[in-house]
């Protein structure tokens, strides 16, 4: 992980001019300023075009239906909170119960998968190369299998153990499926960077494996835990097909399936639609903005190790 911060420093050093260069360089610098501001403007234009759909949805959440239709690109005027209030006052409590259910599923999945995956990864790292190779190959499969391929057998399995259409069923299938593979690979990759001496020293002191894992390994792999937490949290939160089929309609919806099931009838009432979307999206977006640093670092560490 420590290697990740370094490149940024290197980039920061990049625009700083070397004072030893001559006057010719100064005129080039002036041209450089013009070029840089042109670059800045171009970058902003491209970025803004790219995020227009987000702007439409966010501004639409605070506009009237009429203004959305007549001036889709304008700022909200009059500014209205009706859409937000309306979404929160729906008789089916779509937003409130959906968010609550999503939080339940996401948190329970993470609370189970993080200790399971980190302990398993530590255990795997300590195995003989043959066993390690076999286990990692088996876990690699989970990174690739499209969730649709295993969905119906999972439903049948849950039926046979009496967990069909239940939160425990959904949570267990999250914990045992491809997400576990992702977490294990991330931890195993990260554990390679942990110096073996630290673990060996603790062993010599007579510490048990559980204690070593929890008091020594877990703090060392904290960056990996952050990555696992952020990514799996996001994926489980945004998951659609599993809650749609495994959880079903009777136990209440997660926010994602809830929107899918109930928004169809208001799909042309953009004001209402955007109000609901705004509230549904706000938690992952704010979560992303808050954890942005870890998010992007995690992405790179996960990626470069995969």
């Amino acid at each position: 992980m420590s290697t990740i911060t370094q490149p940024e420093k290197a980039v920061r050093a990049h625009p700083v001019d070397d004072p030893n260069r001559s006057a010719a360089r100064r005129s080039r610098a002036r041209a450089g300023i013009a070029r840089r501001s042109a670059h800045l403007i171009a970058a902003w234009v491209v970025t803004l075009i790219f995020v227009i759909p987000i702007y439409l949805a966010v501004s639409g959440a605070f506009k009237t239906q009429e203004q959305i239709l007549t001036e889709p690109l304008a700022l909200p005027s009059p500014f209205t909170l009706d859409n937000i209030v309306g979404a929160l006052q729906r008789p089916d409590h779509l937003i409130q119960s959906g968010l609550l259910n999503s939080i339940l599923v996401t948190v329970a999945t993470l609370v189970l998968i993080i200790p399971l995956a980190s302990a398993t990864s530590f255990w795997i790292s300590e195995q003989r190369p043959v066993i390690r190779g076999v286990l990692l190959a088996a876990f690699a499969l989970g990174l690739m299998v499209p969730p649709q391929v295993v969905l119906q057998p999972i439903v049948s399995l849950l039926q046979s153990i009496g967990l069909a259409n239940s939160y425990p069923g959904l949570i267990l299938s999250n914990v045992g499926g491809g997400y576990l593979s992702f977490a294990v690979f991330l931890y195993v990759g990260f554990l390679r960077t942990v110096p073996r001496e630290v673990v060996e020293a603790a062993r010599v002191d007579g510490a048990g494996e559980l204690r070593i894992w929890w008091t020594i390994v877990m703090p060392l792999v904290r960056p990996a835990t952050a990555t696992v937490g952020i990514f799996l949290g996001l994926w489980v939160w945004n998951d659609f097909l599993n809650p749609l089929i495994i959880l079903g309609p009777l136990q209440g919806q997660t926010i994602t399936t809830g929107i899918y099931q109930s928004v169809g009838t208001i799909s042309t009432d953009y004001a209402q639609l955007f109000g609901v979307m705004f509230l549904a999206a706000i938690i992952p977006v704010v979560g992303y903005l808050v954890t942005q640093r870890e998010f992007i670092h995690g992405l790179m560490s996960g990626a470069s190790k995969g």
Partner: protein, 293 residues
């Protein structure tokens, strides 16, 4: 000896739980799906029996397979190419430590954290007949009639490609941005001193350094598009005339709308094989290229 033993058994119970869960929810379903693919199992029928390779024979004669496969490949290729090309461009454009560029990078990444359902609903409001795109085009006088963005097989396919790319571009951008930032600036300086032009600097300095990023970004695009489901479900429902069904969508339809588990398992095996081939060949190919550079 004693330490070795401890190290082997101390965490074994927890690892055992994880392995059992993984076996139950990933490995067993694969086996079970493979076995089911040789039966005519369906919850709409009273009995189920072994039918040999019938499902596979039917699958390879089913025009739906070729239509969904064709659509899937179009989306996979379009999305992978577009999101990597534009992602790299974005990364080059936005690769600067200043505050402005940081804000832009933050904005560009937002689509990636939204769920496919929300993205598809937003785009549906943009693309449908009275949608915001058509009303904008009409008010600017660019078209007289509403364009049927989701209504013809070609345009609907194109629309789905655009929407999926919109999500994956964000991801590619971040991967490439991070790759670019790992290029030591001394390398550029050295190349500049050697008199290398911008293009040659990109080819000889930047590109080799971001090659691992290419592998990651391309592979993830491939895997993401091969399992594409939610955007299709919301944006077109697979229509018009089933022209925008991905293989994964087809599989879910057969499993959960036609309730033919035997047949859907055969489709599942096919999708699995396709994903395996694509994933391994792409990582293999790209890795080899990385080594060459």
């Amino acid at each position: 000896m004693s330490t070795r033993q401890r190290s082997r058994w101390g965490l074994a119970p927890i690892a055992g739980i994880a392995i059992i869960l993984y076996a139950a929810f990933l490995l067993w379903p694969l086996v079970s799906s493979f076995v089911t693919s040789f039966t005519n199992s369906s919850p709409l029928k009273a009995t189920s029996s072994f039918v040999g390779a019938d499902n596979y024979v039917e699958l390879f004669q089913d025009p739906r397979l070729y239509r969904t496969l064709g659509f899937t490949l179009v989306v996979v290729v379009f999305v992978t190419v577009v999101s990597n090309a534009l992602g790299l461009l974005f990364a080059l454009l936005l690769n600067s430590p200043s505050r402005n560029y940081r804000v832009m990078r933050t904005l560009v990444f937002i689509p990636q954290v939204l769920s496919g359902v929300i993205v598809a609903f937003i785009w549906r409001s943009v693309l449908n007949q009275n949608g915001l795109l058509n009303s904008t085009l009409q008010s600017m006088g660019l078209t007289d009639e509403a364009v049927s963005w989701l209504g013809t097989p070609e345009l609907a396919t194109f629309s789905i490609c655009v929407v999926v790319s919109w999500m994956t571009i964000a991801f590619s951008t971040v991967v490439y941005t991070a790759s670019l930032q790992s290029v030591p600036s001394e390398l550029y300086e050295a190349a500049r001193v050697d008199g290398a032009g911008a293009l040659s600097r990109f080819r000889n300095v930047t590109f080799p350094m971001i090659a691992p990023g290419v592998t990651i970004s391309v592979t993830l695009c491939l895997i993401t598009t091969l399992k594409l489901y939610d955007i299709i479900a919301v944006l077109t429902g697979g229509g018009p005339a089933n022209s925008t069904q991905s293989l994964a969508f087809f599989l879910v339809e057969v499993a959960f709308t036609e309730n033919r588990f035997g047949y859907s398992s055969a489709i599942a095996m096919f999708l699995l094989l396709l994903t395996a081939v694509v994933a391994y060949s792409s990582t293999g190919l790209l890795r080899r290229r990385e080594a060459h550079l």
